[in-house]
C-alpha cells in the first residue's frame, strides 16, 4: 500500500480513538458516560462517514463499511426469518413440546383429518421449502422448480384478479366526469367563481382528467404506430406523463432530504453534540 494510505488509515484510527475517549469522558450529572454507549455512537458516526466517503470515490473505508453492512444485514434477515416464520408461525401450529421450549403459545387445530390434527397441513410449505433448498444440489436441483412454479403461479393468479379490480374496474367509473356541467349546475358559467372547491375549478379538473387519461392511454397503445393524429395525441400523453413525473420527482426529493437531515442531525447532535437532537 502507498504511504498516503497508511497515513489516512492511521489518522482514521486516531480520530476514532479520540472520539471514543471524548464521548466516554463527557460528564453527565457528575457521572461518566457508559463506555459501551460511547463506542456505539462513535462506530455509527464513523460508518456513516465511511459510506459518505463514496461521494468522493471508492476507497477501502467504504469497502469495509459496505461489506460489514451486507454481512450483518444478511445474517439479520436470516435470524429474523427463522424466529418469525419457523418459531413464530410453524412450530406453534405443529409441535406442542417445541412451542413450550421456544416459549410460544401452542395453537391447536380446530379440525382434523381422520383423527390427525388439521395443522399437519403446515408440513406442506415446509416440504416445498426443503425442495427449494435442493437448488444447492447439482443432482437434485431440478426439485426446486416445483415450489418455484407454485410461488409464481399462485401469486400471479391472485394478483390477476386483484389488479384487474383495483387498476381497471375501479378506475373506469372514476373517469365518468361531466365535462360540460350537469343539468343541475347550469349556473356554473353564470357565476364565474374560481374558488378551489367551486364548480368552475371542478369542471377544469374534469377536463384535465379527461385529456390526461385519454392521451396517456394512447401513448401506451402498442398495436398501432404513433403517426398522424394518433401520434399527436400520444405526444400530448407523454407531456402529461413528464409533468406528472416532474411533480413526483420534486415531492420524492423532499423525502430524501428529510432522510439526509436525520443522518446529519445524528452526526452533529448525538455524536458531536453541537446541535440539540
Amino acid at each position: 500500500m502507498k504511504r498516503s494510505t497508511y497515513l489516512v488509515f492511521g489518522g482514521v484510527v486516531v480520530l476514532f480513538a479520540l472520539s471514543w475517549i471524548f464521548k466516554s469522558s463527557v460528564l453527565e450529572d457528575g457521572v461518566y458516560s457508559n463506555v459501551w454507549e460511547a463506542f456505539k455512537v462513535t462506530l455509527a458516526a464513523f460508518l456513516t462517514l465511511a459510506i459518505f466517503s463514496f461521494l468522493y470515490k471508492d476507497n477501502p473505508l467504504y469497502k469495509f463499511a459496505e461489506h460489514l453492512y451486507v454481512g450483518i444485514s444478511a445474517a439479520y434477515w436470516m435470524c429474523l426469518a427463522f424466529w418469525s416464520t419457523v418459531v413464530g408461525n410453524f412450530i406453534p401450529r405443529t409441535f406442542e413440546s417445541l412451542s413450550a421450549a421456544f416459549k410460544q403459545p401452542y395453537q391447536p387445530s380446530s379440525w382434523d383429518i381422520l383423527g390427525i390434527p388439521g395443522n399437519i397441513i403446515y408440513i406442506i410449505p415446509v416440504l416445498l421449502g426443503i425442495m427449494l433448498l435442493m437448488r444447492l444440489s447439482s443432482k437434485y436441483g431440478w426439485l426446486s422448480r416445483w415450489p418455484l412454479a407454485f410461488i409464481v403461479g399462485t401469486t400471479a393468479g391472485l394478483n390477476f384478479v386483484r389488479y384487474l379490480r383495483s387498476d381497471f374496474v375501479a378506475q373506469v367509473s372514476s373517469t365518468f366526469v361531466p365535462l360540460l356541467g350537469t343539468p343541475d349546475s347550469v349556473s356554473v358559467w353564470s357565476s364565474f367563481d374560481l374558488n378551489a372547491t367551486g364548480p368552475v375549478v371542478a369542471l377544469l379538473s374534469n377536463w384535465v382528467i379527461f385529456i390526461g387519461v385519454f392521451s396517456g392511454l394512447v401513448y401506451f397503445f402498442f398495436s398501432k404506430e404513433h403517426t398522424g393524429w394518433f401520434g399527436r395525441t400520444s405526444k400530448v400523453g407523454i407531456w402529461v406523463l413528464m409533468i406528472t413525473f416532474g411533480a413526483s420527482f420534486g415531492y420524492t426529493v423532499m423525502g430524501r432530504i428529510s432522510l439526509l437531515v436525520g443522518r446529519i442531525t445524528y452526526l452533529f447532535g448525538d455524536w458531536l453534540g453541537i446541535v440539540q437532537s
Binding site: A74, R145, V152, R165, F176, F222, F245
Partner: protein, 411 residues
Amino acid sequence: MKLQLLLLSLLILMFCVPVGAQEDSAMVDSLAVDSLAALPVPAPVTDIGLSDLPNDHGHAVVVEWTPSTDDGSGLANVVGYQINYGLSKDGPLDSVGFVPSASGSYEHVGSKDENDRTYIPDHTDLYYRVDVKTVDGRLLVSAEVAGPVQSSGQWYNTGRTAVLIAVALFSFLTIFYVQQAKAGKELYIRPIGGIEAVDDAIGRATEMGRPILYVLGLGTAADVATIASFTILGRVAKRVAEYQTPIMVPTYDPIVMTVAQEVVKSSYMDAGRPDDYDEDSVHFVTQSQFAYVAAVNGMMLRERPATCVYMGKFFAESLLLAETGSVAGSIQISGTDEIAQIPFFIVACDYTLIGEELYAASAYLGREPKLLGSLKAQDWGKGLFVVLSIIGIILANFGVESFGALFEVAD
C-alpha cells in the same frame, strides 16, 4: 415590592376563580340533574328484524329495527341504541355495538377465527336485543329478545360481478390472441426505443471488453415487473453468451436468484455455449435494501461495467444506482413500473421504459405467442376502457349516475 404585591394578588385570584367556577359548575350540574330527572322514559324499539349479511364469510348478521317513537320527537331523551347478542334466548346477552339516535340498523360483523373474542359461530341460532340508551345513561330494555337467526357464508359475492365480467372478458381476449399468435398470425408491436438500444449496448460492452451489469430490482419472483425482467434477462443473456461477454446479476431476493440462474443457464444453452455459463455470475447479495445498493454500487465502481440494465421493481435506491452507473461511465437502460422511481431513471439513464413499456418490451424481445397475445388483449382492454369512459362521460353530463354504479366493487 409592587411586583411582589402583584404576584400575590395573582396567586389569590388563581385560587378564587376555580372556586367560583366550581360553584358555577356545581350550579350547572345541579340544573342538569334536575332537568334530566324531568325527562320522560323513552319508548322501546319495535319490529326487530334479523337477517344474514349477504356476500360475506358467514359470520355476520344484520340487525334492523324501528327506532323509538321518542327518537327525534324533540324530547332529546334518546342518545342511541345498544345492540346485545347471545347464543340463548334466556341470556346472557353481551353488548356488541352502539349506534347513535336516528339509526335503524347495525351490521354485527364477527371473526371466523374461533379463538378470536369477536367470533360469531355460523349455522348456529343467534339472538339479539336492542336497548334504547338514554341521556343519563339509563338503559331501557326492549320488550323481547329477537331471534333465532343463523349466519352463513356465500360462495359468490354478487358485489364483485363487475370483476367477474372483466376477468372473463380479459381471459377470452388473451386466449384468443394467443391462439392467433400460435397460428402464425403476425401481431404488430410498435418499436420501443429503449429495447432497440439493448443490442447496441451489449455490442458496446463486447467491444470494450467490460462486463454487463443486470439488476432485477427489489421485487419478488411473483411481481409482474420482475417476471417481465426475467424475459429481458433471457434475451440479454443469450446475446451475452453469443458475444462471450461477462455478465453480472446481483440479486436481492433468493428466489429471484434461483429463477435468474435458470434463465441465464438456459440462455447459454440456447446460444450453444453451456460450458461458458458461470453460476457465480448470478448471485444473492442481501435482502436489505440499502446494503444491496451499497454492494451493487461497489461492484459498479470496481468492475466498471460498460452497460447497466435496471429492469424490475425499484424503490428509493433507483437514483443511487443510476448516478453511480453514470459515474462509472456505463450506458444505462432502465425500466420499472414504480411510478415514483420513473422520474429518477428518466433523468439519470440513457433509455427508460415507462410502466407498461417494460411488459411490452418482454413481449417485443421474446416474441413468444403467449406474451404477444396478452399484449394484444391489454390493448383491447384499453380500447374498451376508452369506449366505456366516453359513454360514462356523456351520461354524466346528463346527470345519469347509474352507469357508474355498475362498476363499483364491494369489499
